[in-house]
Symmetry: C2
Subunit: 461 residues, 2 copies
Amino acid sequence: MDLAAELTSLLGPDAMRTGDAIGPYLTDSTEMQGLVGRADAVVAPADVDAVRNVVAWCYERGVPIVPRGGGTGFSGGAVPVDGGLVLSLERLDRVLSFEPELWRMQVEAGVRTATIHRTARGSGLLFPPDPGAGEQSMIGGNIACNAGGPHSFKYGVTGAWVTGIEAVVAEGRLIRVGGPLRKDVAGYDLRSLLVGSEGTLGVVVGAWLRLLPAPAAAIPVAAAYADEQAGVAALERVYAFGLVPATLEYLDEGAVDATRGAFPGGLPEEARFLVVAEADGTIEGASALAAELAEAFADGAVMVRTMQSPAEVAALWRWRGGVTFGVEAQMGGKMSEDIAVPFDRLGEAIAMAREVGRAHGVRACSWGHAGDGNLHATFMIDRASPDQITSAAEAASDLFARTLELGGTVSGEHGLGWVKRGQFDVQFGPAEAALQRSIKALFDPKGLFNPGKKIPPAPAS
Amino acid sequence: MDLAAELTSLLGPDAMRTGDAIGPYLTDSTEMQGLVGRADAVVAPADVDAVRNVVAWCYERGVPIVPRGGGTGFSGGAVPVDGGLVLSLERLDRVLSFEPELWRMQVEAGVRTATIHRTARGSGLLFPPDPGAGEQSMIGGNIACNAGGPHSFKYGVTGAWVTGIEAVVAEGRLIRVGGPLRKDVAGYDLRSLLVGSEGTLGVVVGAWLRLLPAPAAAIPVAAAYADEQAGVAALERVYAFGLVPATLEYLDEGAVDATRGAFPGGLPEEARFLVVAEADGTIEGASALAAELAEAFADGAVMVRTMQSPAEVAALWRWRGGVTFGVEAQMGGKMSEDIAVPFDRLGEAIAMAREVGRAHGVRACSWGHAGDGNLHATFMIDRASPDQITSAAEAASDLFARTLELGGTVSGEHGLGWVKRGQFDVQFGPAEAALQRSIKALFDPKGLFNPGKKIPPAPAS
């Protein structure tokens, strides 16, 4: 019996993706860098038991398993680079329970991030993590990458809102760590180990989420500067003044230029650097904080704009969500990283990203989550040009080295996936790398969960 | 050469604790249950290098290492139950850096929790975790237990405020996970694995802490009820109304009785259940929230009191800090647990704790962090009576079993340590217990770090 026939008999015909339907499962946002995988089979099991069965089946036969959520990642984490089985969680799409009066929700891994946001909002609650592409991305993928987003500045990343996880691990065993509990120190924190593990330790199939009453008001304050130094100084004043907005974002000159026309209400011509904070809380509290932010931003600004109406606010976040596409549109493609540095090195990191691009002859820009020191340092490329792809990859390699010199990390919220796996042994010294590898081996003795991703094989010594 | 002579030559005479000076290192808050250990030696190394040397020395010779902070734990985690070396972190007491304009601090493990609070406050910042005994407890111990406290309801437990850890692991190797970074998903989350590991994976020697601008105002609102049902209903209304106080505490009848006389401003005679929330934020924001809390508490209350003056607020938290001692004073001793349940099971858990005490003939009461479903279920004992200690231990065993039936955990913030190690294999099924044990073996192949604590030897199969 061949692979497809065996899987069909195991999972039923509805679970099989074949023919042209396979294409979308072979790529993610790294497609524009030329990364397209190949799969021996693509399956979408109907429920947790089916996931257990297929994982047990793969584990017995030594078939690699590439877990897949919405496929919106920037690091090739869900791409089957070298065959094996793509295990899509798309059919595990049920909200298992939603208890608004208890501020919690239990979901399957394939529930879309936007569905969680909307469900919570409908009852006056907030699920704070807001990585991009919410309509496509799935909570299982958000957990696998410990995804962030603008609102992580005040509220923290995905892991901070996950109180429990169900995962299918080696041999098809189902483990449950945590649950609808807000505190638990009985064992080691396996929950946090699974969060951000990028499918390399097992398959996240469900989660318990913690929610928060939604703030009554959210008031963005944007400010533009004619030069980067003035913009970075404005960001530093938010910290120095002790203000805690929900978001603290920036765009450098290249990112401003790529999205200038779409900024709600327009930007002054001399704008070369943009900062966007959002004050949230009660109506009075958010208004007061917005006024303080406007004051902190004022020095050296060519524009300070406070947005009050719901339409303005929606337009702003729509624009912000489109930044990545605006930058991409400049040359048809981009290679976008997610380095993070201590906040006091932010200005240096922004300048460094641009310098690195210049040194390699590729246009570079950056934007991102300034308050968290998290930069989407980006190299713009013509995706049809192999030379540009090579130059951008070389620039990225330099970028990572210089990020580490600044005391930073090569990944703040995307994960290492496939495209950054080479950075693993650079960022971690031998002792910590060995420890990390031994955790991988513990969960996945046969090395079948998302092989080669995040943690590459140990270098020859 | 004998042990003491070897250690003296390794660490210098100042590091040696001998003779009568050893006594305090052999116990923690479980002393009143009769737990007193014995140590082959007690050392207090002067710095991280000395910790590395002594760990390497122990690891070579197979000498067990019991790391020790302030010794304020409730689970015997820092007690040398069966000899070995007590490694006190008391001399690693330096604040290595404090950068108020960057909301961060780097500390050694032996810095007292209260020192961190005071240092932050002096610059208008807040380190939110507030476990009891802040003047004695050390940040390293707080990290080892992932300690909580009242303010964890809004702000989360210790781990949420630790962005990096330095730890000395097997063979005296120093590892650094994280740092002054707010986001990092490059590797597996070893930081969270060390948080709450109770000294069983290595010795935490330092940490990077994240701070927050301190709220301008904090306004406690207390309410008393003549019966428990009315009190629990009031707590549930806080969730249902979508209010987010910084703390949401309760005391049941036994705890109220033990501390009634000391409550600032007194309590009505009919008070049998007490709730205490604290509204914090801006002056206006905290006032508005305090009014909403008072409204949520009103139904069925025999008292609702909002505390405005700094003197009242300080008196309230002084009283709250004394609850544990007030309960202890009832009969001279107590066995105090830290079970946690989903919030919707809180009322059942409070009643259950009392019933369990009655069934075993010991006086029982509970209080704690209601909003987090975290109960200090407590059995009051005459510490001179072996019978009472036995009955209380049996009651605790029942309490744990019934907590698991409620979907809870046997430890929300104290850890399992020595006294709750028997619960490990009850709470975790065989698959997860095996995974946890293999993580222990990975970090500590010789089983020398705090042996027998948290994770006991595997049961014979």
